[in-house]
């Protein structure tokens, strides 16, 4: 076969590349379109504020929404302070030695572990070993442990992006190390920390595997009364109604998917807004 001309090769390559891009992009649009189109009809005030009825085939998803909110808050409480402080330790205090390098490596690896392994860990440690039972507490702790590597990494990067000159200047003016962190570093790392935390929360809100056996309830006819209670949650609810409820009206499933998707995208949107806003305001 004769060698093709460079121009022709380029055209063929471009066709392949553009087609590939379309093959990637169209399903994304398709999925969004589908969920909105088929889910929107299900969204109304009753759907969002009522309990499920008739074995979940009718009624609303209110307890799942509430449950997801509780889990988000629980995850925030357990992951944010610890993650941020630990990152401050790693960046500002810890000395560079083999030990700290192993820690940093471990945290990066933790971020890559499949979420189901976290679920297994949560089941074994929180539900069973510590006797918390299937509860908001166990679920939040499991989700928090899953989120901590993300929070630590985001905080670490935010801290490292603050120019070193700020620290030097602050110290040379007689400030203590903590004063320097508090006044000359943290305020400028805050947008990155907030963005990273919101993103980690949005991921936690959408995850099913870690809550499968640590907190999720198939059907709870009442709202939780304490942190030792089980709770329904949006991702688990979607899973259950699509796989385990026979003759489930598709409209309600799409509606649940839409609510979950909406929540997650809403959180992500805030993270993006915060990130762009502060990037513009940056004066250095």
């Amino acid at each position: 076969m004769k060698r093709l001309s460079p121009k022709l090769t380029q055209t063929l390559a471009y066709i392949f590349i553009i087609t590939s891009t379309l093959i990637v992009i169209l399903p994304i649009l398709g999925v969004l379109f589908l969920i909105i189109k088929r889910g929107l009809p299900a969204i109304n005030w009753e759907f969002l504020t009522q309990m499920p009825k008739m074995g979940m085939k009718a009624g609303g998803i209110f307890p799942a929404i509430v449950g997801t909110f509780y889990l988000i808050i629980g995850t925030l409480i357990f992951s944010l302070p610890l993650g941020v402080l630990a990152a401050i330790y790693l960046v500002e205090y810890a000395r560079e030695n083999i030990f700290t390098r192993i820690i940093k490596l471990s945290i990066v690896n933790l971020a890559g572990i499949p979420s189901i392994v976290y679920g297994l860990f949560g089941l074994g440690l929180f539900v069973i070993f510590l006797h918390f039972g299937t509860s908001i507490l166990a679920g939040s702790l499991t989700l928090a442990i899953m989120s901590i590597p993300v929070v630590v990494t985001a905080t670490k990067e935010a801290l490292e992006s603050v120019p070193n000159s700020f620290r030097e200047v602050s110290l040379s003016l007689g400030a203590t190390k903590w004063q320097t962190i508090r006044h000359a570093v943290l305020p400028y790392a805050l947008p990155g920390i907030i963005t990273g935390t919101i993103l980690s929360l949005s991921r936690a809100a959408g995850e099913t595997a870690p809550i499968l056996f640590t907190v999720a309830a198939f059907y709870l006819p009442r709202l939780p009364r304490s942190i030792f209670d089980q709770v329904m949650a949006l991702p688990y609810h979607l899973y259950v109604i699509s796989t385990q409820v026979p003759n489930m009206p598709l409209k309600l499933s799409y509606g649940t998917a839409l609510v979950l998707l909406g929540l997650v995208l809403f959180l992500n949107l805030w993270a993006v807004i915060i990130r762009t806003h502060f990037r513009k305001k940056k004066k250095w």
Partner: protein, 288 residues
């Protein structure tokens, strides 16, 4: 007074560092301990090479091979689809697309990354699965193929964004040199840019594969749940992740089945560890 406050704050910070270290160690130990417990009463060889996964038979059989092959099949399938498509898409965004399109495409890819896997699993279940069933005339559309397609979609954001970073990192000087010699854009792309970004592309692929192997919900909803050795893409399979999720509720703490699931968890952990390690090395190479 100030001194006391300073002391408390600094030590809380150090304490947090220590707690994190303890958590990391705890996770490792917990996983190992419970996994190893299996092998006190069940042969390691049998676990790694056994072709039957029947946890409730008497005596139970915990051969991981069908699950491993299930994961492998789905991963390979997803890779065949997502790697060429993902890299091409990254090339398009990085080298060919005009600026306004770049931002839109990147936003869409980020959007895809944010969609929870259970949502994608659900959509795949109600659209893709019946489609595959009718196209191939199968008894059920819950197959490895359906899983591969869905997982390829889920791996896409990882592959595209890391590959795009790698392509952007190629120094301008390389490209300008090639253009100065009269090369066409495509020649520059495939002879200069792609090879130069190679390590970064490897990292992107590795991390995409890692994403696929670790996925649980979507596979549970789409690949069927037959813990048998698959013979083709058009059969239902069961992955390691789905096995843990599906059977977790049936175990009792301390029984063999419980430990066996941890053993699978350990295998998953080791696999993702190795993948992340390779990706890490590749990323470091690309940064030099």
């Amino acid at each position: 007074m100030k001194k006391i406050k300073e002391f408390l704050v600094e030590n809380s910070i150090r304490l947090s560092g220590v707690i994190i270290i303890l958590i990391v160690i705890l996770i490792f130990i917990f996983l190992f301990k419970n996994a190893i417990a299996l092998f006190q009463n069940y042969s390691l060889k049998e676990f790694l090479t056994g072709k039957q996964w029947y946890p409730i038979s008497e005596p139970p059989k915990f051969g991981i091979v069908p699950l491993l092959l299930g994961s492998l099949l789905v991963t390979v399938g997803a890779s065949i689809i997502s790697i060429p498509l993902g890299i091409s898409c990254a090339v398009f965004i990085s080298e060919i697309a005009p600026q306004f399109l770049k931002d839109t495409l990147k936003a869409l890819i980020e959007l895809l990354a944010a969609i929870p896997s259970v949502v994608l699993g659900f959509v795949g279940m109600v659209t893709l699965v019946p489609f595959i069933r009718s196209v191939f005339n199968l008894p059920t559309g819950l197959t490895a193929l359906s899983g591969s397609i869905m997982l390829a979609l889920m791996a896409m954001p990882t592959i595209v964004s890391i590959a795009e970073d790698a392509l952007n990192a190629v120094p301008k000087a390389y490209k300008e040199g090639a253009y100065a010699l009269g090369a066409t854009k495509w020649q520059v792309i495939h002879r200069v840019i792609l090879p130069a970004a190679f390590s970064g592309l490897v990292a992107a692929i590795m991390l995409g594969i890692g994403r696929v192997i670790g996925e649980t919900m979507a596979v549970m909803m789409i690949t069927g749940n037959a813990a048998r050795i698959p013979h083709s893409f058009l059969e239902p399979v069961r992955t390691m992740t789905a096995t843990i999720a599906a059977e977790m509720g049936e175990t009792v703490r301390g029984d063999l089945h419980y430990f066996a699931l941890f053993a699978i968890g350990l295998v998953l952990f080791l696999i993702t560890f190795v993948i992340n390690l390779i990706a890490d090395i590749a990323l470091n190479r690309s940064r030099r």
